[in-house]
Symmetry: C2
Subunit: 193 residues, 2 copies
């Protein structure tokens, strides 16, 4: 008595998630509807509910994907003998790149840009792993007795704000990386004195 085997495997799950991210990226959060995601992959709307339970489940999965990506990239950063520069470079080359290349994931995972922000609780664990990677980078910088968690928050705040502003098209075209380095460098320098 085995019953009918499920047709929607892990491959369909990834295809659905890809389509969801693509939709938000291309047409904004309002374009993310269960019907369009299903149609884009070529399955019925029921498949989305079989795999992710609900539209909210889809959003949570996007958040997990975002934090997973972010955490891996921070961890993969090279460590030089200049911890302060390492931190700034991580901000520019990881956080900025992530936000620019995957704005939909940035908005969902980092900014909690969803109809129901309490859903963020469901990817808190994955987020914490990425957070720990950032803290590890901050820990290497001498900050004159400042609380590491607190500094990490402040650094993250500047990164998040810069990313938000850049995604809104408010940074001079072509100058984005320089301005990021200027801002992040100034914050770290100001914290060290």
């Amino acid at each position: 008595m085995a019953g009918r085997p499920r047709e929607h495997d892990e491959q369909t799950a990834r295809a659905l998630l890809d389509e969801a991210e693509r939709l938000v990226e291309a047409e904004g959060a309002a374009a993310l509807t269960v019907r369009r995601v299903a149609d884009g992959v070529g399955v019925s709307t029921r498949a989305v509910y079989s795999v992710y339970g609900s539209k909210d489940g889809l959003l949570v999965a996007l958040g997990v994907r975002g934090f997973d990506m972010l955490g891996r990239r921070v961890a993969a950063r090279p460590r030089t003998d200049d911890p302060a520069a390492d931190l700034v470079e991580a901000g520019v080359m990881v956080f900025r790149r992530f936000a620019v290349e995957h704005p939909a994931l940035f908005q969902i995972a980092i900014q909690w840009a969803m109809p129901d922000p309490t859903l963020a609780r469901q990817f808190r664990d994955v987020g914490w792993e990425a957070w720990a990677e950032l803290v590890a980078l901050v820990e290497r910088v001498d900050l004159g007795g400042r609380d590491v968690q607190e500094v990490a928050r402040e650094f993250h705040a500047l990164c998040e704000g810069m990313a938000a502003i850049e995604l809104r098209g408010m940074l001079a075209a072509g100058e984005e990386e320089r301005i990021w380095r200027d801002a992040l460098g100034a914050l770290v320098a100001g914290l060290r004195r």
Copy 2:
């Protein structure tokens, strides 16, 4: 040939906007529906369309209200003989207070947290006025030849990021103001050297 006089005057308009802000504040952006706003004020849904044209029009009006509030408060800040401190205090006492007291307006006006972010174009003018007030504060600080607009952007980015983080409950309770001052102070100090 005068026709029937309109029943929904400026007073109803303000009542609708108040109710809209209250709804978003209390239950999140998803709770903002034309029907609920109308019911809350005691008029029909048609009134919302008579006054604001659409739900999007309501969102734009909330954005205008936010920027108007922000601009006035920045302009009203006292100028002391320490321009750098004035800037930091403006960030803490204006931007932070605004975000904490009116999170819905912050999310709409500043973060463009709407289904269709292109609506932000419609309150760009009011936003520019508030922006000019911030630039005026930055201009007084000696920044060693840095571009004023650019520094204003960086300062705004940190404020926006800190506000976003605080609204998500990620700052130690009771320590918020001190952390804001620490972060903003560090950025300004780092920019001045």
